[in-house]
């Protein structure tokens, strides 16, 4: 649900970003050495709502799978 409305998220700089801008150290931030899904978009779809929704679904899905995998391993290691 949250993913579907994510394109409506505020585009204003967030708390840390705003402070960094105001205090003049935003420019010291370095870009990532590579980009996979930058700024929560699918690259070939551009910065569109559908692109953000898909990126959100990918992220949520990856995390769902990852945590279930981690959880199962932790449980199995217990020998239960």
């Amino acid at each position: 649900m949250a993913v579907l409305i994510s394109p409506l998220a505020s585009g204003n700089p967030d708390g840390l970003e705003r402070v960094a801008e105001d205090l003049g150290f935003l420019g010291t931030g370095l870009d990532a050495p590579y980009q996979i899904l930058p700024d929560y978009t699918i690259p070939f779809l551009g910065e569109t709502a559908i692109s953000t929704i898909l990126a959100g679904i990918v992220g949520a899905g990856v995390l769902l799978g990852l945590l279930i995998l981690i959880g199962r391993n932790l449980r199995r290691a217990n020998g239960v």
């Binding site: 994510s6 700024d39 945590l67």
Partner: protein
């Protein structure tokens, strides 16, 4: 207004190498502790719950909500994760969320990932859970209120530690960065509290068993049940060691 969420977390370059490495070290130790603790304690129904919680926190973090003065804030989720899953599983969930955000979405730097995990995941989980477990015996209203207060304090603590990291790194001056970070996060903390309380109220309404699982009919009360549900032999005392 159709905007995609911007960068949300500390990027590389904001913190010095030394600060980044120190917080990576602390974070790695805490993750190690979290793994060894959950390794012995993870319950059957916690596994899908961890996955759902991670997906929810990730999605909720994408929703920047506007706060005063052309600034926005986003949900952190550490307090919520720790209250629902216990502190150690909560830390694993938060670590995964921040890790995936940095690795897949280029949100938050790699060198500073340890600091991002500590600030948003470990510190918030410790504060959120620490306060909540004190009122676990109380009625629903008190518990939700304390969860909200805990979420607000956790957000302020995360802002404060970030400000201190920026100061120690020589990025900004202490007397400037602390009021700036805290001032903005007073409002972001309200959003954090709202989402945390709403999510907990929703879980209590639909699946109350998730918050007090494996209820024993013998003795010990809700608090011990809550603590035992994370399979700590001697209740909450054991959970808190390592935090305080």
């Amino acid at each position: 207004m159709l905007y995609s969420p911007a960068q949300l977390h500390i990027p590389d370059g904001f913190l010095s190498i030394v600060v980044s490495l120190i917080f990576w070290l602390i974070t790695i130790v805490m993750i190690g502790l979290a793994i060894s603790k959950t390794n012995k304690t993870l319950g059957e129904k916690q596994i899908p719950l961890m996955g759902v919680m991670a997906a929810f926190i990730f999605a909720a973090q994408m929703l920047n909500f506007p706060v005063a003065g052309g600034t926005s804030g986003h949900f952190l989720g550490g307090a919520l994760a720790a209250i629902v899953l216990g502190p150690w599983a909560g830390i694993l969930v938060m670590t995964s969320v921040v890790g995936v955000q940095a690795l897949l979405f280029q949100d938050g730097g790699l060198l500073v990932m340890g600091a991002n995990i500590f600030n948003m995941g470990i510190l918030t989980a410790a504060i959120g859970f620490g306060l909540y477990r004190m009122v676990i015996d109380r009625n629903k209203g008190t518990r939700l209120a304390v969860a909200g207060i805990g979420a607000w304090i956790a957000t302020m603590a995360a802002a404060l530690i970030t400000a201190l990291q920026l100061w120690v790194s020589g990025t900004s001056r202490l007397e400037i960065v602390i009021p700036a970070m805290l001032g903005v996060h007073v409002f972001i903390g309200f959003g954090e509290a709202l989402i945390t309380v709403a999510a907990l109220a929703f879980i209590e309404q639909t699946r109350p068993d998730l918050l007090t699982p494996e209820k024993s009919t013998t003795s010990g009360g809700a608090r011990l049940d809550y603590c035992r549900s994370f399979r700590f032999s001697d209740g909450c005392t054991d959970i808190s060691t390592g935090f305080w």
